[in-house]
């Protein structure tokens, strides 16, 4: 059976471009949860996690998982920017517009406004809405929840995911045209998940997302029965406000080689990486942790410009700098 479609559009020289989705579980009521991935076509972790989750939930809904039952319906759009996915591009490939700067969209407007409007309409009815991203090609994010002007209910649900960090983020001028911001004007709970970097699949991050979403559905009693994965999931989730975020920015250009692993607690002064001169290869700078905390993001692209983000640490005490406001939204 063909899946339902968020949108189907003609294309100039090919078959119709379709954005399919899954509606899984009892249809009597509106979906309890909506999950959106692939607004950026090259962010594969969320797409993979959602595709696998849809497959599993369909299996459950078909009664093929003894002891498990889908009590309320779940709506999943694994990938919004299908043309971007097929061409390994973050943006809508034709005019390079970022679909996540087009919300709430306009059904009679430009192509990406139409896509945004269709996604927004389809995701409105759910009580809990989650938009899943990776960072960009340069930066790797520890799987984390991002909340924007959060409510107590959102903080509670975010903790149920069991991801290592729940981070409060600023609502800046750019983020006001994102799906998350459009959702925030509706009743219900809304959040963004970030995991890994764009451009390829990082299986451990994608698996962690998958398990976190299963865990959430279980804790919210949308999915009954225990998953073998539940007991394996690290449920220790720490909540960080913006002022606990330290973004480490480089004042030197060159080639960067990271030395620290993502997700570990680092002490102040620990070596995070080295900046090499691109021409003669000498070490221009050793990058050390300015504070102790959880390493939630690190640079994975070697080519380094002045002002580039090297690492992000969630500190245990308030310590933020001004640049954080500008940098934390990167990749979303």
């Amino acid at each position: 059976m063909n899946p339902p479609l968020v949108l189907s559009m003609t294309t100039p020289v090919g078959p119709a471009s379709e954005i399919p989705y899954h509606d899984i579980g009892p249809r009597r009521r509106k979906p309890a949860v909506v999950l959106v991935g692939g607004i950026h076509g090259n962010e594969l972790n969320g797409i993979f996690a959602l595709a696998r989750l849809a497959g599993f939930l369909k299996w459950v809904a078909a009664g093929k998982q003894p002891g498990r039952k889908l009590i309320r319906s779940v709506r999943i759009i694994p990938c919004v920017n299908v043309l971007g996915l097929h061409t390994r591009q973050r943006t809508w490939p034709f005019d390079k517009t970022d679909i996540n700067r087009m919300f709430p969209g306009y059904a009679r407007g430009e192509t990406t406004q139409r896509i945004a409007a269709a996604v927004f309409e389809l995701t409105k009815p759910a009580s809990l809405r989650i938009d899943i991203h990776s960072s960009n090609l340069e930066f790797e994010e520890l799987p984390q929840v991002r909340l924007y002007g959060s409510t107590p209910a959102e903080r509670h649900s975010a903790a149920l995911l069991g991801l290592p960090a729940v981070i409060e983020c600023p609502v800046n001028k750019i983020s006001q045209s994102t799906l998350l911001y459009a959702w925030k004007k509706l009743a219900g709970q809304n959040m963004v998940l970030q995991a890994g970097s764009a451009g390829n699949l990082q299986r451990p991050h994608a698996d962690r997302l998958y398990q976190a979403l299963l865990r959430l559905l279980g804790k919210l009693k949308i999915l009954s029965g225990e998953s073998p994965a539940d007991s394996e999931t690290n449920s220790e989730s720490r909540y960080f406000k913006l002022r606990h975020t330290v973004s480490l920015v480089s004042e030197k250009a060159g080639l960067f080689v990271p030395r620290a692993e993502l997700g570990g607690w680092v002490e102040k002064g620990v070596l995070l990486g080295e900046i090499y001169d691109g021409f003669d290869g000498h070490v221009r700078s050793r990058v050390r942790a300015p504070v102790a905390g959880l390493l939630t993001g690190r640079r994975v692209q070697a080519l380094l410009y002045q002002g580039d983000l090297l690492a992000r640490i969630q500190a245990t005490r308030p310590i933020a700098t001004g640049a954080d406001t500008y940098l934390i939204g990167q990749g979303q």
Binding site: M9, V13, T91, G109, Y305, Q306, G322
Partner: protein, 318 residues
């Protein structure tokens, strides 16, 4: 005349070179200061030629200048040098990074440098050239909150349209918004098409800029200037009609210039490249001025093909 080239930002690049942002300054610190910016999008060239023509006029009229003129022709030099609209590597639209940040990413540092150096200007003109998809009649675009201050200046610019539009949130991160919010009047000019120059539009705009500078006493009031040739029509969100493609295909324009059109007049058609079929007729919904027309033929559903400003109150959209 003595003009001087100045570096306003120099950033390290990974392999020895530096990313350098430059401006050219005419005149001294005395008298009113004006600025012209262009090339904020690396695929828009029209403004670079306007800067050249203005520099040429200033060199040819050494005694006319009473104030200070600052030209920033290549605000996004990395994008211009590599034919990319955004800032290369960062894939970030520079005109969504204002007011910038001195310790931020490269695009934010560039934005911050422009903001700091343009401070104190009596008027800034930010020249854009649409994109590769659309051709625009020479026009000024003004965000409504700043309309009262800017429209009188815009009327002297010798352009065809002054379009006052609602304040979109994303536009708050533009250079023009940041300058206007900081009490530096900034007019956004749109004209021509991406990756091209349109010399007839250039001369039209240069004449307008010189007249505005004369009005602001940047150049001597006695200086003879070419006469103004255009009077702008006033467009707003109510009288501008958007024609978006109903279907995908190949858009073929029926007109070769931006001009007055009648209600029902064919502006173009969307055809199939695979067969003889005309998929959609594109007709003007009103009597009005065709001020935007699609240049790039391939269209998706929703692609903008034209914008028309209705002439009469009857053509106002509800």
């Amino acid at each position: 005349m003595l003009s001087k080239s100045e570096t306003i930002l120099s950033l390290e690049l990974p392999y020895r070179d530096r990313l350098v942002l430059q401006r050219t300054v005419f005149g001294s610190a005395r008298g009113p200061k004006v600025a012209v910016t262009s090339g904020i999008h690396g695929d828009e060239i029209e403004g670079l030629y306007v800067c050249h023509r203005l520099a040429r006029w200033l060199e040819a009229h050494p005694r006319a200048l009473k104030g200070r003129v600052e030209l920033y022709p290549a605000v996004n030099p990395f994008g211009l040098m590599t034919l990319q609209r955004s800032v290369p590597v960062f894939e970030s639209d520079l005109n969504r990074n204002f007011p910038g940040h001195p310790q931020g990413l490269v695009p934010q540092r560039m934005a911050d440098a422009i903001m700091r150096y343009a401070a104190g200007a009596e008027l800034a003109i930010d020249i854009h050239a649409s994109n590769i998809f659309l051709r625009e009649i020479p026009q000024v675009r003004i965000s409504r909150p700043f309309a009262r201050k800017l429209i009188p200046l815009a009327k002297s610019m010798n352009l065809d349209v002054i379009w006052t539009h609602g304040a979109a949130t994303v536009l708050e991160a533009t250079l023009a918004h940041s300058l206007n919010a900081g009490k530096i009047p900034c007019l956004v000019v749109e004209m021509g098409v991406g990756m091209r120059i349109t010399p007839v539009f250039t001369e039209q705009l240069v004449t307008g800029i010189l007249h505005v500078w004369r009005r602001l006493d940047v150049i001597d009031r006695e200086t003879p200037l070419p006469p103004l040739t255009h009077q702008a029509a006033l467009a707003d969100d109510a009288n501008v009609h958007y024609l978006n493609a109903e279907t995908s295909g190949l858009f073929v324009a029926a007109l070769d210039r931006l001009t007055a059109v009648r209600k029902g007049e064919i502006l173009g058609e969307i055809v199939s490249p695979f067969n003889h079929k005309v998929l959609s007729d594109v007709r003007s919904p009103v009597d009005g001025l065709l001020f935007t027309l699609r240049e790039y033929p391939l269209v998706y559903e929703g692609s903008l093909m034209a914008r028309i400003m209705a002439f009469s109150a009857k053509g106002r959209r509800r």
